[in-house]
């Protein structure tokens, strides 16, 4: 309530400022907002814009969307050319490049005080702060969880989802089926570094086996350690030792799970929508299993909103107001209800209705201990882990050697990116 009042007061001040600046004409201000096209996100944003315009009748927000595949290229080309939006949605991993190229401006400290953001948002959002100023803020975040197939669990007489990695392996073994020749026809657990497993390995398994994936703000690779090797051996052992998974099974992990040929599947909250409509699939979801010593971890990623350097004068003031609204608790609840993406504020996420929600709950609870990898080049860094496993599986390389090779390759990449 107090916060809302503060928002209202802030809004009033800023709009007054805008009005004074534009005193003679008191013209209608129009700002441009860009995001990529995903139907639920567009619907949610349309609703947010409608609410925002109702509260600020002198501001009009135009939303433009682009196909996901083109989005990064389009924004990258349009903003420097001055053709772009005033408020733009970016993947958190692109932030460095955008700040360096001075394409986005820091959020004003008065309207977005860092202390308050640090206190109210889930901790991984702090990756968006540079030198005491936030450059961007998310409306919603994503995390990982373990999906499981209720029908297969019942058929194998398993009471409930696993709590620990050991239980997970045990259950996966009970769910794995093979044909007469020993070929897997149903996996206990899906796997594939090309899907979400590289996040699971990097931010979850390495930590659960007692290590740190990176140090020095993700500039130094630290997983070439005993813990890293233990994590790799565990992951590789799922197929090599326990035989409860197969990386290429049914082409893609999510395909195997949707087809009901996989007992368990680790995936992000963005998969909920796709699974919800699947005919004949009865699934549940639980937090990622805890490690040998009970450590829990998770990986969170998100899309952020930022004000571009194009916004000046009254457009800038309008953009600040708009940013304030789309990162407000109200907007986050609308986003969760419409898109199914998790609120970025702890105060919204951790209310019982959300934290105990049968589907969103496990993801939201995971946010409390989630980490966000600061990538220099996500696809290249993923590829390094993909190849780490391929060298072991296809070329019979020793896991420790493969791990060291991957760590060296990733360090080279990070050094080149940070210009060291």
């Amino acid at each position: 309530m107090i916060r809302n009042l503060r928002h209202a007061a802030l809004g009033a001040t800023l709009s007054t400022a805008a009005m004074i600046a534009a005193a003679p004409a008191q013209a209608q201000v129009t700002i441009e907002y860009w995001q990529y096209f995903f139907e639920a996100r567009v619907t949610a944003m349309e609703q947010l814009i409608e609410n925002f315009e109702a509260a600020n009748p002198d501001i009009t927000v135009n939303m433009t969307t682009f196909p996901y595949a083109d989005y990064r290229t389009r924004t990258a080309v349009a903003i420097p050319a001055g053709e772009g939006p005033d408020v733009v949605q970016l993947f958190y991993g692109w932030l460095n490049d955008y700040i360096e190229a001075e394409l986005i401006q820091p959020l004003p400290v008065e309207a977005f005080p860092p202390d308050e953001i640090n206190a109210e948002f889930f901790p991984m959002v702090q990756a968006m702060e540079r030198d005491g100023q936030y450059y961007a803020l998310p409306t919603a975040v994503r995390s990982l969880a373990l999906f499981y197939n209720n029908r297969l669990f019942e058929a194998a007489d398993i009471d409930g989802p696993p709590e620990t990695l050991d239980e997970m392996v045990e259950i996966a073994a009970a769910l794995t089926e093979r044909d007469g020749a020993g070929n897997i026809t149903q996996v206990g657990l899906t796997s594939g570094m090309t899907a979400q497993d590289h996040h699971w390995w990097r931010e979850v398994l390495v930590r659960q086996f007692g290590g740190e994936p990176y140090t020095d703000g993700y500039r130094n690779v630290a997983y070439d350690s005993e813990a890293g090797l233990a994590a790799l051996n565990f992951y590789h052992g799922l197929s090599a030792e326990h035989g409860v998974t197969d990386a290429g099974f049914m082409d893609e992990p999510q395909a195997a799970f949707r087809a009901g040929r996989a007992g368990m599947h680790i995936d992000g909250s963005f998969r909920i929508g796709a699974l919800e409509g699947t005919r004949g699939l009865d699934w549940g979801v639980t937090e990622l299993p805890a490690g040998p010593d009970g450590t829990r971890s998770n990986y969170s990623s998100y899309w952020v909103n930022a004000i571009t350097s194009r916004a000046e004068g009254e457009e800038y003031d309008a953009a600040v107001l708009f940013m304030d609204y789309i990162t407000s608790p109200e907007a986050m609840q609308i986003w969760l209800d419409t898109v199914g993406e998790l609120p970025a504020r702890e105060s919204v996420g951790m209310i019982d209705e959300n934290a105990e929600h049968p589907v969103y709950g496990p993801f939201i609870r995971g946010l409390e201990y989630a980490n966000t990898t600061i990538f220099a080049d996500e696809s290249a860094q993923r590829q390094i882990l993909v190849e780490m496993l391929e060298r072991i599986n296809l070329q019979g390389q020793d896991p420790a050697e493969s791990l060291a090779q991957a760590a060296a390759a990733e360090q080279d990449l990070l050094d080149a990116y940070y210009g060291e």
Partner: protein, 297 residues
Amino acid sequence: MSFYRALSIRQKRTLWAWGFLAVPIIFYVVIRFYPTGNAMVLSFQSWNLLGDREWAGLANYRVLFSDPVFWQVFWNTFKYLLIGTPISLVISFFIAYHLDKVRFAHGFLRALYFLPFMTSAVAMAWVWRWFYQGVPIGLFNNMLASVGIGQVEFLNSTTNALPSILAPAVWAGLGFQVIIFMAGLRAIPRSYYEAAEIDGVSKWTVLWEITIPLLRPTIVFIVVFSSIGFLRIFDHVFNMTTNNPGGPLNSTKPLVLMIYETAFRSFDMGYAAAQTVVLFLILLVVSLIQLRILRDS
């Protein structure tokens, strides 16, 4: 106007000719030559699409030539060419030679061979990708399993993946090559064959001494055309290995895919431009060599 009137008819004709020629020339300069030149300049710069372009000198090329992945990709690109071109040439000639003699349902058969060429490469690549999976979903492996033969890793193998991806690419291109070969066969004057028949020459001799030598221009065209196609192979590889582009372990990655990844996944535009320049030079040299070899003698 008086300037125009003062010209002779010959000069007027020249003027008109250049006037008409100017349209395609301007078109080519703007949409072909300018971007090509720009890419060459960019190959000496460093640019991530966002900031300013910065001069990098030969750094992009230095990184490229010392990158083991580049040399692997370079060699892969030639594998596509060296395996794909002869195989598709022989198969398409074989089909065209025999199809040319078939009278029954000729048009229908020809249409069947042409059909894959008109199909979208993306759709085809995905269907083949699923054909290649293991049990329980892969067509080929299910067939093998039903007769008790062990599984073959088609795509998840550093040795089998490249031929597996090449097969649908060859198949897709056959239709076009068959049509070109048939047109070439029809263009050989009947009188040579009649003369050979009168002389009582064997079928093999007719093939080696008349048909193939007279098909030389057709063969040159197909070899150059399909070589360029295989050197630029992209859609099949990209779609059959989307989750791990050019994998496993870069064993199927062609140069074009490496360029695409550098440019649109890593956003390292200068480095991608340097790779493009290398591809351009390869295409140029290969085409010139082929034209020389196949035209001489």
